[in-house]
């Protein structure tokens, strides 16, 4: 049956054990399972349905995750999937009566090169529901790109279907209204952000028309164009759908992330100008709302003026995360709190241009990488007072004894809090202020304890991530080092070792330490 062939034997290999963005199919599954009554079927070997575990554990989801696998096993390898995929689709159609089934390719199906579109075409003839093949290639896109693409694909599918059936109604709602695009399962604080955005829109007198994909219904997608405009809160997911809706239906969209006081105001002003231009004349003016919220409702503007925040002036921080959160966080730290961002970085390599442009004037250095060791080495080198990053940076921080606030996926279960923790809107600014302040004060407390001889029983730590060192510390040197307060100790250790290497000394005595000190203070 030769249904698969080997396209390329020129594979590159990369040594890795941590990745920031997952494989493409995860993005598709996140979008599909966020919609109500949509089922995803993965064409995958046994064990690839780990997504269900993540959703059930991290989101503490009460319902069965609507994802099943059409298992690729030895038989499939030998003879192709043949009827199996089609049978699985029609079976799921009968069992769950979904509105839509999304057939999801994985890395395995990418290499097998079976004609999945053909299976979809055949299955949709026998099934009551719609069936589509997610248009994502494992080797070309990551989780976030795939999610963006799948959302656009689903939106396009239903609008084109309505157009074909002649039931597309493009009339706008009477009052100003907006769709929120890109809120979805396993997104970093997405549920809380969504609630905050709805509240914000309500206070602006804007009706929330539809939120997709989370909790959305595909049968309602044809009514998306009834809204006056779209809001895309996150850079990573929703932009493609917004661009499609703008191109096809002339729907404007706001893509400024309302994170931080300044950008929230930006976002609101954009909404104002869109509403007024849609209405043809000025019907709203949000200036006094922004002013009121900024000065009195949100505590963040006041916080940045308070003496607490004064103490943070010039403190050094490193920011790393997805493009949206890392960019917004960099701007907040630098512009709103007077903190020096020594390095801002993102793992969204595909969006590097946008990221650079956003943060260029707010940080000393930009880092675009998806290699966690590069991030770790950089942090070890610049020794910031605090890190704002993902779970990986939190662990790097732990190792180096630097506090870390988690601001972006990838995340653990503790980043799916039960309490209300938005990052967006005015309540979001409060949450972020707390997060920043708590990260720094914890560090300060720690140092004060050590300065005053607190409960310091910690051994000397190495800030360098590599464990091998050719240098030996004498007992006296070691003792002298431990007398130096913790917050400068590692820096002194590093400088001393650097000095010793430069001067070809392989044992560090107290004398060497003093010599190094003199050399560096000159």
């Amino acid at each position: 049956m030769g249904t698969y062939k080997i396209q390329s034997r020129g594979v590159f290999m990369k040594l890795a054990y941590w990745m920031y963005a997952g494989p493409a199919h995860i993005g598709t599954l996140r979008v599909a399972s966020s919609f109500k009554n949509v089922h995803a079927i993965m064409h995958a070997p046994l064990g690839d349905d780990y997504f269900n575990v993540m959703r059930s554990m991290l989101e503490r989801e009460r319902d069965f995750t609507p994802v099943t696998a059409s298992i690729v096993d030895r038989h499939v390898l030998a003879r192709g999937s043949q009827e199996k995929v089609v049978e699985n689709i029609t079976r799921k159609d009968k069992e769950e009566r979904p509105d839509l089934i999304v057939l999801t390719p994985t890395c395995t199906s990418s290499i097998l090169q079976e004609d999945l579109q053909n299976f979809v075409d055949r299955a949709s003839m026998g099934a009551d529901c719609d069936v589509i093949l997610a248009d994502v290639n494992h080797y070309r896109v990551n989780e976030l790109q795939a999610a963006d693409r799948t959302l656009e694909q689903v939106v396009r599918h239903y609008l084109e279907k309505a157009k074909r059936q002649g039931c597309l109604d493009l009339r706008k709602t009477e009052k100003p209204s907006a769709n929120i695009l890109g809120i979805f399962t396993l997104g970093f604080h997405n549920q809380h952000d969504c609630r905050e955005l709805r509240r914000l829109l309500k206070e602006l007198g804007v009706e929330t028309h539809q939120v997709i994909p989370e909790g959305g219904s595909v049968s309602q997608l044809q009514f998306l164009p009834n809204a006056w405009f779209n809001i895309v809160p996150y850079r990573e997911v929703g932009l493609m759908a917004a661009e499609y809706l703008e191109k096809e239906f002339g729907m404007p969209y706001v893509s400024t992330t309302p994170m931080g006081v300044v950008d929230t105001a930006h976002c609101i002003r954009e909404i104002q100008s869109i509403i007024n231009s849609q209405a043809g004349h000025e019907i709203v003016n949000y200036q006094s709302y922004i002013d009121q919220q900024t000065r009195f409702v949100s505590q963040a503007a006041w916080f940045s003026r308070s003496i607490d925040c004064q103490n943070l002036t010039g403190k050094r921080a490193v920011v790393f995360g997805d493009a949206t959160h890392a960019a917004s966080m960099t701007k907040i730290l630098s512009r709103e709190m007077g903190i020096q961002v020594v390095c801002a970085g993102t793992y969204c390599k595909h969006d590097a241009g946008w990221f650079r442009e956003q943060v260029a004037s707010f940080c000393d250095q930009v880092l675009i990488t998806d290699d966690h060791t590069e991030v770790g080495d950089l942090i070890a080198k610049v020794e910031p007072a605090a890190i704002f990053g993902t779970q990986m940076e939190r662990h790097i921080g732990k190792r180096l004894d630097i506090p870390c606030g988690v601001i972006s996926a990838p995340v653990h279960i503790q980043n799916f809090p039960l309490g209300y923790r938005p990052f967006l809107g005015y309540e979001g600014t409060n949450q972020i202020a707390d997060l920043v302040y708590n990260s720094f004060t914890l560090g300060m407390e720690d140092h004060l304890l050590e300065i005053f001889g607190g409960h310091d029983t910690k051994e000397v730590i190495t800030k360098s991530l590599s464990t091998d060192t050719d240098l030996r510390w004498s007992a006296e040197g070691q003792a002298e080092l431990s007398r130096i307060p913790g917050f400068v100790r590692s820096k002194i250790k590093r400088n001393t070792e650097k000095f010793a290497r430069q001067n070809n000394l392989n044992e560090i005595t107290v004398e060497v330490m003093y010599a190094a000190k003199e050399a560096f203070t000159q």
Partner: protein, 467 residues
């Protein structure tokens, strides 16, 4: 649907194989920790990496001795080839970590593109001077714990020949044993016969990866019967792999090791002792008795030892007696656990299991059958390659007191008022031997105890539309 009665023989069914389980590459998680001087290299894609990263959670941050060789779609014109690439990565591993062995884990992708790992390994081994073991632990062929089976089967080929290396390995293991048993003897109050009292018997090698303390406990139980364990596959270090060969008896400690068993018999000419597995006090006793029987030794004090353990479990047994349990099946420990729980007084409705080797598990299945008969409960239905969707329908119908299931189904079932226990915990907990029977029941009763304390509150159903 009515449970089968115990007048018929055990009944086996096979469903569609649409079930949730861990990918077998997860075995690196416990094997790299067991074999201290190893390095595991998983040759696969981002999908494999993502699974490991998320499934192993915090272990990722501890500089683990494993990594992914992540395959990417290369330029067709690229001059790189698989061998050069693997050589580059393995040289790096050798330089950074200097392990005694590198284990290549083949995945679905290496199977499909037919990457010749077995062909490349010996060449690279020569070139780098470091042993390279190849195990195809992929999701096309295997489920979860079977990953360990593929690795141990591959390692069985690397064990020294008992004819040649006997003396050396023997002394080494004796040293180890006396060390660990000295520690244990001071902890446990029963006497251990000294080596001089031991009966002469052919060498016995046990296979299956267990934490060092559990392995020491099992070794000690055998020692009390005058049986000396001459080695374990795997040992704590790659350099300490046991000697194998004709005349060596082998016995498994886990139910998912059928390939390893086959390899030991056919390729290394060992004699397999087919016994129930030492899970639960009943299983442990049966396991020891079988080994004794093969060596013609009359077991001493085993019955008392078992009774004593049961007596100690009484508090837990009161909680489980008469309760029903449903195994959805994902790790192949199911038959042994079900047999133990039946002995505890539970009723097992269904034993889902990924793969059933009726020959390797023959003694365990026979013990399950006789246990059901003695306890006067119907035989459970044994469902190989289960279908999770159908199983959930059956769970709704039967409403068991406990469903042992994967994490994908646990929260949704709890929300529908079904108590669940996450099955993976049985893989990582210490469940072997007399000493650890308590741990199994601790796991099994945890949801029952928790739900007992919440019972008064009246919020059992936590979904809008009931079931």
């Amino acid at each position: 649907m009515k449970p089968l009665t115990h007048t018929e023989p055990l009944h086996f069914e096979c469903e569609t194989g649409n079930y949730h389980t861990f990918c077998p590459i997860s075995c690196v998680a416990w094997l790299y920790q067991k074999i201290e001087d190893s390095f595991f290299l998983v040759v696969g894609t981002k999908t494999c990496g993502y699974f490991l990263q998320n499934a192993l959670g915090v272990m990722i941050f501890a500089e683990p001795r494993y990594a992914m060789a992540e395959l990417e779609e290369g330029d067709i014109s690229a001059q790189l080839n698989d061998y050069q690439e693997l050589r580059r990565l393995c040289s790096q591993i050798k330089k950074d970590r200097n392990p005694s062995v590198i284990v290549w884990i083949g995945t679905c992708t290496t199977e499909i593109i037919k990457m010749d790992l077995e062909g490349m390994a010996p060449r690279l081994e020569m070139e780098l001077g470091i042993p390279i073991v190849v195990a195809r632990a992929n999701g096309l062929d295997y489920a979860f714990t079977q990953g360990e089976d593929t690795v141990l089967a591959a390692m069985a080929h690397r064990c020294p020949d008992s004819g040649r290396a006997k003396q050396q390995s023997r002394t080494h293991i004796d040293e180890n044993d006396s060390l660990s048993s000295r520690g244990l003897r001071s902890l446990l109050s029963f006497p251990v016969p000294s080596t001089t009292e031991q009966t002469a018997h052919p060498p016995l090698v046990l296979f299956g990866s267990l934490p060092a303390t559990v392995a020491a406990q099992l070794g000690l139980e055998l020692k009390r019967q005058g049986i000396q364990v001459s080695g374990w596959l795997p040992a704590q270090r790659y350099a300490e792999l046991p000697s194998l060969g004709e005349g060596v008896h082998v016995c498994g400690v886990n139910p998912f090791l059928s390939r390893t068993a086959t390899t030991l018999m056919r390729r290394r000419k060992c004699k397999l002792i087919g016994a129930p597995f030492p899970i639960g006090p009943d299983g442990t006793r049966a396991w020891i008795e079988k080994i004794c029987a093969v060596f013609g030794i009359q077991p001493k004090g085993l019955q008392e030892r078992e009774e004593q353990v049961w007596k100690g479990l009484e508090g837990y047994l009161r909680l489980v007696r008469g309760k029903s349990v449903f195994f959805m099946g994902d790790n192949l420990l199911e038959v042994s656990l079900a047999r133990f729980l039946v002995r505890c007084g539970m009723v097992v409705y269904e034993i889902g299991i990924p793969y059933m080797d009726k020959r390797y598990q023959a003694a365990e299945l026979a013990l399950l059958q006789s246990t059901c008969q003695e306890m006067g409960v119907p035989f459970p239905r044994i469902v190989e390659k289960p279908d999770n969707y159908h199983q959930v329908q059956r769970i709704r119908e039967l409403h068991p007191d406990l469903a042992i299931t994967g994490m994908a189904h646990a929260n949704p079932l709890e929300a529908r008022g079904i108590s669940t226990k996450w099955s993976v915990e049985f893989t990582f907990a210490q469940i072997h031997g007399f000493t650890n029977a308590r741990d199994i029941l601790e796991l099994v009763t945890r949801p029952l105890r928790r739900n007992h304390s919440l019972q008064e509150l009246g919020w059992v159903q936590l979904v809008q539309s009931p079931v």
